[in-house]
């Protein structure tokens, strides 16, 4: 088991006041909240900070933690010294049941020091909400997991295998985690960020309570050339100046296979062509938008240079007409 430096996790000084601890926790909680944060590993960090705060916010637990000594390094192999907590009593121990935020998310390190009962609430805001729904407290906790899928999966549907860490209460009253794998069907027509709810696949209920639910959030892996917005797809399509100017028929990829696309005459860079119903299938199927990007051939040879010069002479064209320049001498 690894020693956890709770002060380091919260970037706090060992002499931090309780007020400082609270303030720092709030800041970090906002920064790493999984619903808000775009930080990588936000969820993991949010849990770590929650665990650190659970100890440091409580003067009793903090004092007990502090007397472990300053010689421990984060990550060092840790065994609590025998009788380490003699003389400390935790007011919360044994009284709290499991609440919505579970003790089970805490590390082994935390469990070994404070036991599983002590971690009833990991959040610093004991809203009236939490206590008021005690009538439902026998239902197991809900689980939440992210599933990465390919764009093609939204077109064809897929099956994904996911691993879940389920906490389990041992006979001695300690908590261990169990890994369980589940094969889940991803239906056709899903959107980025959408959730699938698997009723009863969360944590087991306590006493005769129902199991919690499992919520899977779907996230598309970045695609090489399609980007996704709701059910719509976007494709940046490079074309030559003559294809755009003269109009043309070119082959483009779609998730269901290549098709021929007609580029209208005098198309401009950035023009959007809409292919109705070629997006992600659904009751209201999405569209595929093709965004034209006009690529210039390099003037890397004498004939190419001559050709560009000839164009300049024969095709008077001012792309900066809208800039109202006083003297535009051209080339």
């Amino acid at each position: 088991m690894e020693y956890k430096d709770y002060y380091k996790i919260m970037a706090l000084d060992k002499n931090a006041t309780q007020a400082e601890i609270k303030k720092t926790y709030r800041k970090l909680a906002r920064k790493y909240h999984p619903d808000v944060s775009k930080e990588p590993d936000a969820e993991q960090k949010f849990k770590e900070v929650g665990e650190a705060y659970e100890v440091l916010k409580d003067p009793e637990k903090r004092a007990a933690y502090d007397q472990l000594g300053a010689n421990w390094q984060a990550g060092q192999d840790f065994k609590p010294p025998p009788g380490w907590d003699a003389g400390y009593e935790y007011s919360g121990a044994g009284q709290q049941g499991f609440s919505d935020v579970d003790a089970a998310v805490f590390s082994d390190f935390f469990e070994s020091l404070f036991g599983q009962q002590a971690g009833g609430q990991s959040s610093g805001f004991s809203s009236s909400q939490r206590t008021s729904h005690s009538a439902h407290s026998l239902k197991g906790q809900d689980h939440h997991a992210k599933v990465l899928i390919d764009l093609e999966d939204a077109f064809n549907g897929a099956t994904r295998e996911i691993s879940l860490q389920t906490p389990k209460l041992t006979q001695q009253g300690t908590v261990t985690t169990q890994t369980r794998t589940l094969k889940v069907k991803i239906p056709k027509g899903v959107k980025q960020g959408q959730q699938i709810r698997l009723a009863g696949q969360g944590e087991p209920g306590h006493m005769d309570g129902n199991n919690g639910d499992l919520y899977l959030e779907l996230e598309f892996k970045p695609h090489t050339y399609f980007s996704v917005e709701a059910h719509d797809l976007y494709l940046k399509l490079p074309v030559t100046p003559w294809e755009a100017a003269l109009g043309s028929k070119i082959k483009i990829p779609t998730p269901t296979g290549d098709i021929e696309l007609k580029i209208p005459q005098d198309s401009k860079a950035g023009n959007k062509l809409r292919l109705k119903g070629r997006g992600i299938p659904a009751k209201m199927p999405g569209d595929l938008y093709v965004i034209l990007q006009i690529e210039l051939p390099p003037s890397d040879s004498q004939p190419a240079k001559d050709f560009y010069k000839k164009m300049a002479e024969q095709m008077p064209f001012n792309p900066r007409a809208e800039l109202n320049l006083r003297t535009d001498r051209g080339v």
């Binding site: 909400q129 069907k185 959107k191 959408q194 699938i196 709810r197 499992l214 980007s227 917005e229």
Partner: protein
């Protein structure tokens, strides 16, 4: 390749989209909240229910979509974890949505 275990069947859940429909009781159970809290969310404009005209009357006919469930659970977490009130959570949800749209646009 890992050999497949015969006993693990493929499970399918419900997609929380606009077509999924929950009654008020089912909705409260799924979120583990009380009716009062749900009404607050409707009043704040966080949840759009079908049969909105019946808000003042009996709530047996209210129907909540999967999108509602996703949003309500988010609000609940924001309230619990960050101490935000419902109006603040509504603002956060709107900003998250906008942020996501802008990110998508940036990425393409």
């Amino acid at each position: 390749m890992i050999e497949k275990n015969k006993s693990d069947d493929i499970v399918s859940g419900v997609l929380l989209d606009e077509h999924y429909s929950l009654t008020l009781t089912e909705f409260c159970n799924a979120c583990k909240v009380e009716t009062r809290w749900v009404v607050e969310l409707i009043e704040e404009g966080i949840l759009q229910i079908s049969n909105q005209e019946l808000v003042a009357e009996t709530n047996d006919n209210w129907r909540f979509t999967g999108v509602c469930l996703h949003r309500a659970r988010k609000v609940k977490r924001l309230q619990q974890d960050l101490g935000i009130n419902i109006a603040g959570a509504a603002l956060v949800l709107d900003l998250i949505d906008e942020n996501e749209r802008l990110r998508m646009r940036l990425g393409r």
